[in-house]
C-alpha cells in the first residue's frame, strides 16, 4: 500500500526576535574554544518525514500542514521545508 517514495525535510528554527539560550551557550563555547569568528549560533530542529505520496507537490503540502500544526509552534518558531 502507498508509494512511500517521497521524503520531506523540515527545519524548525526560533524566530529571529526570540532569545535562544541554547544557541547562545553554544556560541560562547565555540568562542572560548578559539573560534572567535563564530559570531552567533541559533539552534533549531530537523525532521525527516517519509511520506506515502507520489508527487513533490503533495509532499510539500503534507509537510507544510504537519509542520504548521505540530512540528513548529508559530508563536516562537518558523519552518522551512525541502522535498
Amino acid at each position: 500500500m502507498g508509494h512511500h517514495n517521497m521524503k520531506a525535510r523540515v527545519f524548525v528554527t526560533l524566530k529571529p526576535s526570540v532569545f535562544d539560550p541554547q544557541g547562545n551557550t553554544i556560541a560562547q563555547a565555540l568562542q572560548s574554544l578559539g573560534y572567535g569568528t563564530v559570531a552567533d549560533v541559533r539552534q533549531g530542529k530537523y525532521f525527516e518525514l517519509d511520506l506515502d505520496v507520489s508527487t513533490a507537490g503533495e509532499a510539500q503540502r503534507l509537510a507544510s500542514e504537519v509542520a504548521e500544526k505540530v512540528l513548529a509552534n508559530p508563536v516562537i518558531e518558523s519552518f522551512r521545508i525541502e522535498t
Partner: protein, 252 residues
C-alpha cells in the same frame, strides 16, 4: 462538595500531589481523568497537573494538547468552567491556545527546583479570589522551561487587560531580575484568558498546601475556586452541560 477533575497524561507526575492537596488537605472531591477520556464526567473544576507529558518530546505540552480529553477541557473552559494549569499543565494550555504565548528554555539552561516569591497581581480570577492583591505567596518551582515569552503585542495586551495573575517577586513584593528564576518576560509566573476562568502558572500551589512541606501559601488557589463555585452554585455545571441533575440541585 466541589469535584476537581485532575487530568492524567502519560508522564504527568504531580497528579497525585494535586489529588492529595484537594482530597486530603482541602477535603473536597478529586478524580483522576485519563487523557484518553472524552468527558470530564461532571467535574466542577479542572486541573492540568505538572510533569513531563509525553516525555516533553518535541516541545513541552506539544503532544498532550492533542489528547482526546483536551477537546472536553476546551469545551469546559468555553462554558466558563475554572481550569488551572500547573507547570506542564500551563505549558499544555499555551500549546493548545487556551492561553497565549510560549515557553522557552530557562535563560540559564538550568532546571530550577526551589521556592520562589509570587506576587498576586489579580484577585478577579476564580483561583485568586481569596488572595490579596500584592500579597507575596511562597511556592516551589520545578521546571527547565518556564521562560515565558509572548510577542510584544500579545504581552502588551496581557498587561493592558490585567491578565498577568502572578509575577515572580522578592519577599517584599518587588518583581526584580534577581527574583526572576527563568527569564520570563515581565517576570510572568502566571496568566489568565480574557474570560479569566483559565489560569496557568509555573509554580506548584499543590506542593505548598501543608506546613510539613514548607509552605501553605498554595492553598488559597484551591480554597478560592471552591468558594467561587459555591457562590456560583451549580450554574457553571449547567453551562458546561456536564452534570445531569444539576438543575434540580440548584432548585434545592
Amino acid at each position: 462538595m466541589t469535584t476537581f477533575a485532575i487530568v492524567v497524561f502519560p508522564g504527568s507526575n504531580c497528579d497525585h500531589d494535586a489529588y492529595h492537596a484537594i482530597k486530603h488537605v482541602l477535603g473536597e472531591d478529586a478524580r483522576f481523568v485519563w487523557h484518553k477520556e472524552t468527558s470530564l464526567s461532571g467535574a466542577d473544576a479542572v486541573i492540568l497537573p505538572g510533569g513531563f507529558s509525553h516525555g516533553d518530546y518535541l516541545r513541552t505540552g506539544a503532544i498532550a494538547r492533542f489528547s482526546p480529553v483536551m477537546a472536553a477541557v476546551t469545551r469546559f473552559a468555553a462554558g466558563g468552567g475554572p481550569v488551572l494549569g500547573i507547570c506542564n499543565g500551563f505549558q499544555i494550555l499555551l500549546e493548545c491556545g487556551l492561553l497565549p504565548g510560549a515557553m522557552l528554555r530557562n535563560r540559564d539552561l538550568k532546571f530550577h527546583c526551589e521556592f520562589v516569591g509570587l506576587r498576586v497581581e489579580r484577585t478577579d480570577t476564580p483561583f485568586t479570589a481569596l488572595a490579596t492583591a500584592g500579597q507575596v505567596l511562597r511556592m516551589p518551582i520545578a521546571h527547565g522551561e518556564g521562560n515565558y515569552y509572548a510577542p510584544p503585542e500579545t504581552m502588551a495586551a496581557l498587561e493592558d487587560e490585567g491578565r498577568v495573575v502572578f509575577r515572580y517577586a522578592t519577599a517584599a513584593g518587588e518583581p526584580t531580575e534577581l527574583a526572576n528564576p527563568n527569564g520570563a518576560l515581565h517576570n510572568v509566573a502566571g496568566i489568565c484568558n480574557p474570560a479569566r476562568n483559565v489560569v496557568g502558572l509555573m509554580p506548584h500551589p499543590e506542593r505548598a498546601c501543608e506546613a510539613a512541606v514548607g509552605s501553605t501559601d498554595g492553598l488559597v488557589l484551591f480554597t478560592s475556586v471552591v468558594q467561587e463555585l459555591s457562590e456560583r452554585g451549580e450554574l457553571q455545571a449547567i453551562q458546561a452541560g456536564a452534570a445531569p441533575g444539576a438543575r434540580e440541585r440548584v432548585a434545592l
